[in-house]
Amino acid sequence: MATTTPDIQRSRRAKSASRPGDRVFSGLSRGSGITLLVIMAAIAGFLTYRAALAISKDSTNFFTTFEWNPAGNPPVFGIAVLAFGTVVSSIIAMAIAVPVAIGIALFISHYAPRKLAKPLAYVVDLLAAVPSIIYGLWGAIFLVPYLDGLNKWLNEYFGWTYIFDKANDGPARNLFTVGILLAIMILPIITNVTREVFLQAPKMHEEAALALGATRWEVIRMSVLPFGRSGIISASMLGLGRALGETMAVAVVLSPSFLISGHLLDPGGGTFAQNIAAKFNEANEFGRDALIASGLVLFAITLLVNGAARWIIGRRKEYSGAAA
């Protein structure tokens, strides 16, 4: 880091290498870095090992089976339903959260009165720290009854679209509600990152557009949004990562079943994380291995999503607002 001339640097390095204190300290800090890598490798390694134990005894195809009964004889379990539920609820969450988050970020960065913008950004920061179990509790007790009416209405007027056709008249503990709750949960995270990017949009571009007589929306469309595009994408991916791995809120709100149904308003379905939390207590050791196998799939998916997000951020080095 130090910007000394090469000569001095070389002699310093030669000297510092001989100091025992320096060797110990640099060894310690390098060791910590290696520890982190080892932990990551161990997570991947041990999960794969336990998962392999389970999958080798699975009597059906792990990826296409619609059942979860590892205690049975022969054991039968598969992740098809979980994968479907995870993907669908995350898609709903993203479809709601991303546009709204962009709106809020624009509101804070460009529309809100100055006096309101700062405290608002602060509050959004705080909201990102609310524990997920509290979102779950609120969702189950407060949001579900409210969404009952919306569900009935959607069913009545949009039932013909198939996905909003509600055959079962139970409470709204369905994938649609889960998607909405996830959207509310990931909103603060996406908003925070996008707002940072919007604030970094070059002022000169905006002023140039204004000077040409552009309206505020035209300024945003021509100079802010193009600048922030990769920021928006990576923020969304970070939010998606959270939504995919969310456990407790889903476990509390959803009434799970092992069926795939295109009717999003019918109770049922499940997600990877929710299934692990729900099935864990009754599982024997083999059952736990089976759950670990499903966890491994979740791990792989989130790894891919996060890796993609980091890659997009990495392409734009000057932007560093992604410190989650």
């Binding site: 982190l36 890598l37 997570i43 609120w138 209405w153 996060n306 410190a323």
Partner: protein
């Protein structure tokens, strides 16, 4: 030029002194908003919809449509698009504020019903599910112990890793560490729990304990500490390092006595925010700590409880008394997390890194 000058009087006559074109009065957005909210409620009541979400959605839709129609008529299509964008942004803001305010309000109002000193100082020992009473002491104790252990494990490793990345890094290893720290930030908490389950409990044969949960929490905490510390160390001006090195002070002493003290405010903030994040994690605790009704002060032996787990358990019980206990515990948890957050941000402001000059 002359053409323009000739034009001007005509324009003034037509547009009554306005510099550009005709505009809606300044109060029009508020008026339209009020009108559409009234219409939304009216339609909702008339159609007999119970869900207030629909009322709000109708009102929002009316607001955007009316704004568009009125502006197109009075100001032209470009202004109309601008106004629609503005109203959409406002609608987004309101859409997001409603659930979040409701969340805070419900937690506080329902939590206050049960929360008192008795609740904070008693465990659930001998309290039946349907019975009122009982408390959260055992869970609070468990949470504090687990989070403390996790911090003791994760903070030094995270700090040293950040020191490595900023002060010693630059090679292939540093690149790999940076990348995997980023990836590690995104690990779902339940996967961290499963990892400890696979190693500590299934391979090594230990039972559930607070320590097992703390290890999973430490995994979640490490990358957050690394990231925030790294950012803070990067803010320390190079001149300070150079001045120290020029006086012949070894690098490790420079780091310990100059670099870290300069950034200590930001580092503390980062660690506290990380603590706040793991305090609310439920999933790994559910898998590894198991939950109990009794006070177990020993995190290394036997099941413990923790605040988020307590909330989950009480909700799952489902009786009225249990659900109000869940709300009260949720309020305790949220207060805990928010206080940590506010103090951390306070420290950040108070001890902001002295950059430059």
């Amino acid at each position: 030029m002359s053409h323009a000058i000739q034009d001007r009087p005509v324009a003034t006559v037509k547009r009554t002194g306005s510099l550009s074109s005709a505009r809606l009065p300044r109060w029009s957005p508020i008026a339209i908003a009020a009108g559409s909210i009234a219409a939304g409620i009216g339609i909702g009541v008339a159609a007999g919809w119970h869900s207030k979400i629909q009322w709000g959605m109708i009102a929002a839709l009316l607001f955007v449509l009316t704004t568009y129609a009125l502006t197109t008529k009075v100001e032209g299509s470009r202004q109309a698009k601008d106004n629609v964008a503005t109203s959409l942004v406002w609608v987004c803001f309101v859409l997001a504020v409603v659930p979040l305010v409701s969340l805070a309000w419900v937690t506080i109002s329902k939590g206050m019903e049960v929360l008192d000193v008795y609740f904070l100082t008693h465990s659930m020992n001998g309290v039946l599910d349907a019975e009122a009473g009982g408390g959260v002491y055992h869970a609070l104790l468990g949470t504090i112990e687990q989070v403390a252990i996790a911090t003791v494990i994760a903070a030094p490793i995270g700090l040293l890793t950040a020191v490595y990345l900023v002060e010693y890094g630059g090679g292939k290893l540093a690149q790999a560490v940076t990348f995997f720290v980023d990836v590690m930030t995104g690990i779902p908490s339940i996967v961290a729990g499963l990892f400890i389950l696979a190693t500590w409990n299934l391979m090594l044969g230990f039972g559930p304990s607070g320590f097992a949960g703390a290890m999973a929490l430490a995994i979640l905490m490490m990358p957050v500490v690394v990231r925030s510390t790294e950012e803070m160390l990067k803010l320390v001006p190079n001149e300070l390092r150079e001045a120290s090195l020029a006086l012949g002070i070894p690098k490790w002493r420079t780091i310990l006595k100059v670099v870290l003290p300069t950034a200590i405010g930001g580092i503390t903030t980062g660690v506290m925010l990380a603590v706040a994040r793991i305090t609310g994690e439920t999933a790994p605790v559910l898998l590894l700590v198991f939950g109990t009704k009794l006070i177990n002060p020993n995190p290394f032996e036997g099941a413990q409880s923790s605040l988020p787990l307590y909330v989950y358990e009480q909700y799952a019980v489902g009786t009225d008394a249990a659900v109000s206990r869940a709300w009260a515990a949720a309020l305790v948890l949220i207060a805990f997390v928010m206080i940590l957050n506010l103090v951390a941000r306070g420290i950040a402001r108070w001890k902001a890194p002295k950059t430059g000059r």
